[in-house]
Structures are given as C-alpha cells and as structure tokens.
Amino acid sequence: MRLAARVEGVGALGPGIGDWDDASEVLRGARPFVPAPTVLPAPELLPPAERRRCGRNVRLAIAAGLQAAGRSGRAANEFATVFTSSNGDGDNLHAICDSLATDDRLISPTRFHNSVHNAPAGYWGIATRAMKTADSLCAFDGSFGAGLLEALVRLAAAPSEPVLVIAYDVPYPEPIHAARPLSDAFGAALALASGDDGAGTAITVELVDETPATLADAGLEALRRGNPAARSLPMLALLASGNAGRVVIEYLPGLSLAVEARP
C-alpha cells in the first residue's frame, strides 16, 4: 500500500544548520557539513509570557514548523499538525525530578504544564492560532518515521487538508543524558499536501522490511544516528537533490519506510 503526498515545504534546524537552505547545500555536498551548536530562535509569534516560559523543544519545533509552512506558501494555521519526538522536554523533566527528590517537592506549575509531551503542539496553537488537530507522537528512535506515516495517513483520510509533520529532539541534561545520549538539538519539518499537480516534490511512501539508508558523509551520518529527528536526513537529502530516487527511512525494527521522490 503506497501513500502519496507532495512536499510543499521543508524546514530544518540543527548543529551548523540554520534553515533548509543550509541543510540542502550540505546534503547536496555543495559545501561541507561543519557542526556548530544549534541556535534556537526565540518564538516571536508567542505572547511575551509564553515566549519566556517555553522550553528548548518548543522553540525548536516552532522554528522548524514555521520554516516549512512558510516555504509552502500557506498560512501556518491551515495545517493539521503531527508533532513527533522521542525525548520531549528533557530540561523540564530533569528540573521536576530534581525537585521531587528533595524534601519539599515543590514544583513550579509552569514547569508542570510544560512537561506534557504535547507542549510544542500547545504552544504552536497559541502562536499560530491553529485550531486544527495536533498529534504528539513518540516511537523512540523511530519517532520521525511514526510522524511521517501518521501525516500521510491523515492526508489520505482528508485529502483537502494539508498536514505539517514536525520532528524534533533536544538532548537531555545529565544525569539522564548518560542513559540516553543524544547529539545536539535537531528539528525537521515537512509541509505535505495531496494531489498530483501543484508545487513541490511528489513522494510516495510504503512500509518495507529493509535496512534504513545511511549517509556517506561521516559527520552527517553521526548526526543521523545521534538524534531521532535526524533519522529524517536521508529523506531530506533526497528532497535536496532535486532528483528522482528512493531512500529507506528508519521506523521500527523490521519495519521501515521507503520514500520515493518524483520531482
């Protein structure tokens, strides 16, 4: 069973990658990948109180999502959204667990409501006034694959409603980092719509039992392996190439996603 979509816009943010232009140059090999700490822009669309309160995962997800929505030419609130992340908000989790290990166990109410896995989806709604549905998924290292599949199935069920899939993961601080080490923050977003004609790259996706693709560049491959959201990189490289092709993306053990592009 093949699922189809058009990729109308892409967003990317990560170490040494500020946006999709950066990402596509690096992924095409037009310039070398030089990692530098991920810079997370302040979410200007949020009211000042929310802007102060939101965590790194929220800033990452909103930035990546706005990039992809902006490149699609559609308003951000036109999209149903599929947020997907393995870790959620590790900074917040650490602070809460730290407080709960003390005698008074006082945790801040803001920290608590920010601790939900769907905090980025909630802040996205506040920022963009989007009242469409928002998913907030997790499938450990296969979280990008789970999000892509969910988005495509949403599109199949409601072809007139574009879907934005936003994968993001921020590393935990210590001591959880030692148990779940991730490389620097990475986010990727795809603005998807249905129909054969229109802007963007036509893709099909199917479930396969094949080994996920790796990247030839050692630095990019380390990034792919180091952050669940960066499991998207082989697909982003295919989209950046502008060529027809097929890559296999990690989802679950024994169950991967084969992505074919027909620009």
């Binding site: 699922l3 989790l93 166990r105 608590f112 920010n114 989806a121 909630g122 979280s143 199935v153 959880i176």
Partner: protein, 401 residues
C-alpha cells in the same frame, strides 16, 4: 469515516480488573476513590488506585520493561480474553497487519523520579539499574504491548495529555482505511507518579475530597490509574458477532492556553461537531455523552458551554470521574470502555461525588444511574495544550440501531 467494529475490549481501573467487576461497580454507582496512600506522597487528596501493581511481575523475557506503568499494561491485557482475541486477529491477518496505538501521559516516569533519589553523591549519576528505553520513554508502553502480543505492524504512542487515548482510535481508523493494516490494538495506560500528583497540586487543581464533577462546590480533580484496550477492525466483523462500533471521531486544538481550557469551550465544540459530522449524525442522534468532566471549576464550565451549545438540555450526560478518578492519558480509553458497557448493557452510569449540580451549568447532567436502551453515545476527552477529541460509538453501524 467508515464505521469500524470493535471486536474485543477490556478495562482495568480502581473499579475493577476487567469488565465484569467494572460493570458491577458502575451498576452499583460505586466510587473507587480513596485517600492517597501512594508511595511517599504526602498530599491530602483522593485517588483511584489499581491495587496489586506492586506485586505484579512481567513475564521474565520482558523484565527490562518493568515499571509501574507496564505492570498495569500487562495486568490489564490479561483480562477478558483480550490477548486471545488479538492472537486470533494476528493469525488471521498476519502480525504485520495489526497495529498498536497507545495513549499515555507519563509512561514510566515514576521509575526516573525514584532513580533521582538515588543519585551518586559524588558524580550525580543515576543508579546503574536505571532503564531509560523500556521503563521511562514515552513509547515504552506501546513497545511493551507490541512485544507482549507479538505484533509487527505500525506502532506509536500518542501523548497529548488527557486526550491521548481517545485520539488513538482516530489514528487506527485512518491506518485501516488507508489499507496499511486490517486491525489494531488501541488503548491507554497511565499510572500514578509524583510529577502528576505534585504537579496538579502546584496548579491548585487537586481536590482534597473525592472529586465532584459539575457540582456547585467542585474544587478540583482526583487522579486515577487506568488501562483500556480495544481491538478495532477488521472492517467486516466475524460471522455471528454483533460488536459495538466506532462511528466517528473529531479532533481539534484550543489555540488558547497550555493548562486552561478555552473559556467558551470553542475547541471542545469543534471536536464534538466534527465527531458528529464524521459519523454522519445529528446531535439528536446521541443518547448519552460521557463528559470529560474533570471537576475543576474552569474545565466543567467550559465543557458545559460547548455541550449546551450543541445539544441544549436534550441529551443525558455526565462524568464518571467521580467513580474512577481522572486517568489522564488513559482517560479516553477507560471512558470509551465505560461508553461501550453502557451501550451493551443499556444504562447511563451514576456520577458519584456530585451532590448539588452547579446552577450555572445548563446541560442535562444526570447524577443517578438510569436503565435505558442506548443506540449511540459520545465520549469526550480534552487535555493540556488545548488538545480535544470526541468519539462516537454505536450499537450498530448504521444511522439507526
């Protein structure tokens, strides 16, 4: 959406292990809430605890998944012949054609909270026994269920706070409609942890008494533990069976605030309207609404505005959280199971804890158990981040029972 048969289901909460004791509690109008004695928690509050989890062991081959949440996942899976029903579906369609979509809010976070009490004094490191992937990560419960049932299809966790395990029904229906799978195990599991108990306390949303949905004196939630599972699909039910049906699902976002509902219930109304539209039904076709009804002043006021705007005072509704407590990420699944029991056995449940209905609230809220035939029921689940989901279930797939 196309109606989808629910081939098997089960639920476990403070009302009982499995459907028979749960039904008995519901028909008796009993509440499972009791003063909180959980772990080292020192809060004046009532909770709906599932007894016996401390002593429950996972199968040895899956011991790496051991945590309170997966223990409840395991215990609940063993009730009502649910595993056998899934095994039959996997044998018939192939294990790769059966998906797993689970909702949870906090998964195994309790394990991490406890590990933080045992950090190395010199290095700050967590104890070597800390198991992140299988006993903490948000995905761990779906991973556990997939391994336990030997399934090989698509699998993920939906974690949208208190709407999580309602939204998984919609995901499964789309996956089946798209032809990726023939059937799916959907559900939700959430268990106590200090983050939610102390967190709701910090927001001043935790009641010191058993919660009182829709009551004039309601003053916050009671947290409960719960698990519910549903085998949805295949499209055509087995010969001779007359399963309940998922008729529609509606989802929306408030786009308003992280922890307060939209004051006019706008997102809630959108979710209910789109669930009705998906089912091809009118408000008058619904016989009972199982409300989200958490018993916080703001939540119930907001939901009442939405329900009244859509149904007026014509449709019986209430919340069963006075019986079960608020099972958070498992609330959708637990209340879907209650909705299906109500359909199957022809009753609308009581609302234990609710004494005097808030005169400001205008929906037709019923506090007493009533025996009545039901053809279609709606179940509402709304969560932090403004995430809303409404489901419509029916005794039959068509427009009339």
């Amino acid at each position: 959406m196309r109606p989808l048969p629910i081939s098997a289901f089960t639920a476990t909460s403070c009302l009982g292990r499995g459907l028979a004791p749960s039904l008995e509690s519901l028909l008796a109008g009993r509440s499972g809430l009791a003063p909180c004695r959980f772990e080292t928690v020192d809060l004046a509050t009532f909770v709906g605890e599932v007894p016996g989890l401390e002593a429950h062991a996972l199968p040895p081959a899956l011991a790496r998944f051991d945590c309170r949440n997966n223990r409840l996942a395991d215990l609940a899976l063993a009730q009502d012949g649910f595993e056998d029903a899934v095994a039959r579906a996997a044998a018939l369609h192939g294990p790769a054609r059966v998906g797993v979509f689970m909702g949870t809010s906090t998964a195994g976070i309790l394990s991490t909270e406890i590990a933080y009490r045992h950090r190395d004094p010199a290095t700050g490191a967590l104890p070597p026994s800390f198991e992140y992937r299988h006993a903490h990560n948000t995905y761990s419960v779906a991973h556990y269920v997939r391994e336990r049932l030997g399934l090989e299809g698509p699998c993920s966790v939906q974690s949208t706070a208190c709407s999580s395990s309602a939204k998984v029904f919609a995901s499964a229906a789309r996956m089946i409609d798209a032809g990726l799978i023939d059937a799916a195990v959907v559900g939700g599991v959430d268990t106590f942890c200090l983050t939610t108990l102390y967190g709701f306390h910090s927001l001043e949303l935790l009641s010191a008494q058993p919660c009182r949905p829709w009551d004039a004196g309601r003053n916050g939630i009671s947290i409960g533990e719960g698990a519910g599972y549903f085998l949805v699909g295949p499209r055509v039910p087995a010969k001779g069976q007359s399963p309940p049906w998922l008729l529609g699902a509606g989802e929306s976002s408030d786009a308003h605030h992280m922890s307060s509902p939209h004051p006019e219930g706008l997102g809630a109304r959108l979710a209910m309207e789109s669930a009705l539209a998906a089912a091809g039904l009118e408000p008058a076709d619904i016989d009972y609404v199982n409300l989200h009804g958490t018993a916080t002043p703001a939540n119930d006021a907001s939901e009442d505005k939405a329900v009244f705007a859509l149904f007026g005072d014509a449709v019986a509704c209430n919340s069963t959280k006075g019986a079960t407590g608020h099972a958070l990420g498992a609330a959708g699944a637990l209340e879907a199971a209650i909705a299906l029991l109500a359909l199957r056995h022809g009753f609308t449940p009581a609302s234990p804890g609710t004494r005097e209905i808030d005169p400001q609230l205008r929906s037709r809220y019923e506090t007493a158990l009533a025996r009545r035939p039901l053809a279609r029921v709606m179940s509402n689940s709304f969560g932090f981040g403004g995430s809303n989901c409404s489901l419509v279930f029916g005794a039959a797939p068509g427009g009339s029972a």
